[in-house]
């Protein structure tokens, strides 16, 4: 047991070093895009409200909308950390041959890499939320909603990882999996409430969206951060359900893909 734990710990440690080896690159790859996305949304919504704090758009005042957007940034920083980029290149370049003989398998390795990534993102998220709170940009943040919010984002992070893992496995069939990754990111940004809160969408669309994992990727975690705990229990089970679904599909995809694997590039 301790030997297995040690393998996990060492892999996480190595992943930490790899991720932080080029810090500017890490910032530009992971943290920069989330902040630029927020910067655009902040300016856009400020311009829509024309700086007027009394106007209501879809039931939101300017202050509430900016508050919502701050929490979408925090959610993106914590939950959307995994990208499966390394995973697909491992398959395409024939590097998984090593994992087939190692006592630490492919999934374990990438899961450990994800945990390393996630832990860095939690620190970045904590730092960001502290700075925003200190500057008064986030208000009414209780310790309970903060703990619930962070825990919820970590669970969403696991769902995000399971989706990205499945997309990465498509490298058994596809030359480039980034196309699927970018497509999924575009759809999820649009349908998860990352740009526009779901209250502003047509009702028929929102009703349909609740049957998909999208609202749980951004909208629900933001609401949890804002202290709305009424949907926490249901949301938790829904996320676990979707994670299980994607994990099962990944398992069968891996088995099917492995049969096609030729070890190209070895």
């Amino acid at each position: 047991m301790s030997a297995l734990l040690s393998k996990w710990f060492q892999t996480i440690k190595i992943s930490w070093s790899n991720l932080l080896a080029y810090r500017l690159n890490f910032f530009l790859l992971i943290i920069g895009p989330a902040f630029v996305f927020f910067f655009v949304k902040y300016n856009l919504w400020y311009s829509i409200f024309q700086g007027d704090k009394t106007i209501l758009v879809g039931g939101y005042t300017l202050e509430q909308m900016i508050h919502y957007q701050f929490f979408t940034l925090i959610t993106a920083l914590i939950a959307q950390s995994s990208n499966g980029m390394k995973l697909s290149s491992d398959i395409r370049l024939g590097r998984i041959s090593v994992f087939l003989i190692y006592p630490f398998n492919f999934w374990q390795y990438h899961c450990a890499h994800f945990l390393a990534f996630q832990s860095i993102q939690v620190i970045v998220g904590l730092l960001s939320i502290s700075i925003f709170y200190y500057l008064g940009l986030i208000y009414n943040l209780s310790m309970t909603s903060c703990i619930y919010g962070f825990s919820f984002c970590i669970i969403v992070g696991v769902l995000w990882f399971s989706i990205q893992y499945l997309i990465g496995l498509m490298a058994f069939w596809l030359e480039e999996t980034w196309i699927l990754r970018v497509s999924f990111l575009t759809i999820s940004n649009f349908l998860s409430g990352a740009i526009i809160p779901l209250e502003l969408y047509p009702k028929w669309l929102v009703n349909g969206l609740w049957y998909t994992p999208f609202p749980y990727l951004t909208f629900v975690p933001v609401k949890v951060f804002q202290g709305q705990f009424d949907m926490v229990n249901t949301a938790f089970f829904v996320i676990v359900f979707w994670t299980f679904v994607f994990a099962c599909i990944s398992y069968f995809t891996w088995r099917k893909g492995l049969r096609l694997y030729t070890g190209a590039g070895m």
């Binding site: 530009l28 920069g32 630029v36 910067f39 311009s47 480039e176 196309i179 526009i196």
Partner: protein, 264 residues
């Protein structure tokens, strides 16, 4: 001069042929590229439509004017994705792996062979779609047929500014060990340039118009097309293009001197 142009045209023809045969070898990828572009297009258009269901205007623009701007910016983006975008990703790899050597020794401009070599044929198909949407939005915005006919010129100008700014930014890759992040920064600049300038605050507007003129890419041509009596934005754009090209010459020369040809 004529011979040089002919030579470059024949080289570009070669680039087109290799890109096409490469793209058709992976057919599923080819179709996925088309789907990805359609998803991006639809999500951008629908986002703006959803916002306008709750308001009359954003800044000074109604839905028609905003969609005209958006369609122009999406068209520029689509052409960029089809003919240029892919090359920036290869460039960072080429520097890291020392493959740039093979471009430097070729008897044509290195910048040309580095940034115009890879073409994405799947995205070319979607240019027709975004182009048609741009014409539709131009009509909706009340643009005359004459202006619609000359608008390709503005698309080229916007593309020229966008690409030259990106090449200038990419010159920083020469000085970095891992330069993937620069490509992400480039994409963030694109993201910023897709919105009208009045969306941004005073300081951001000034910075992104004069210091890093990304807001001029779509804003200058659209402002001119909507109000042809004011040529100031177009003048700014032309100045920005000239200055950026001059800076590229300096930065590229410095970059090549710093290039260590690692792994080659």
């Amino acid at each position: 001069m004529k011979n040089i142009l002919k030579h470059y045209a024949s080289v570009y023809h070669g680039f087109l042929q290799t890109s096409l045969s490469e793209a058709t070898s992976f057919r599923l990828n080819f179709f996925l590229f088309i789907i990805m572009d359609i998803i991006f297009f639809c999500s951008s258009v629908m986002s703006v439509h959803i916002i306008y269901q709750h308001i009359e205007k954003i800044g000074i623009w109604s839905l028609t004017e905003f969609m005209f701007f958006l369609s122009f910016s999406l068209l520029v983006d689509q052409i960029h994705m089809a003919f240029i975008a892919e090359n920036f990703w290869y460039f960072s790899d080429d520097i890291r792996m020392g493959n740039l050597d093979f471009f430097i020794i070729k008897p044509i401009s290195t910048i040309f062979s580095v940034f115009f070599r890879h073409i994405r044929p799947a995205s070319c198909i979607n240019i027709l779609f975004t182009g048609a949407y741009f014409v539709y939005c131009s009509k909706q915005a009340g643009l005359s047929n004459l202006f619609i006919l000359v608008s390709p010129l503005f698309v080229i100008l916007a593309l020229l500014l966008m690409v030259s700014l990106e090449i200038l930014l990419s010159c920083s890759m020469f000085f970095m060990v891992e330069s993937m992040g620069i490509n992400f920064l480039r994409m963030q600049f694109q993201k910023l340039s897709r919105w009208p300038d009045f969306v941004y605050g005073y300081m951001s507007q000034k910075v992104f118009t004069f210091a890093i003129p990304i807001l001029l890419i779509s804003n200058a041509p659209i402002k001119f097309l909507l109000n042809p009596t004011d040529i100031t934005p177009l003048l700014y754009m032309l100045i920005a293009i000239v200055v950026t090209i001059l800076l590229i010459r300096i930065a590229w020369a410095h970059g090549l001197r710093a290039y260590e040809s690692v792994s080659s």
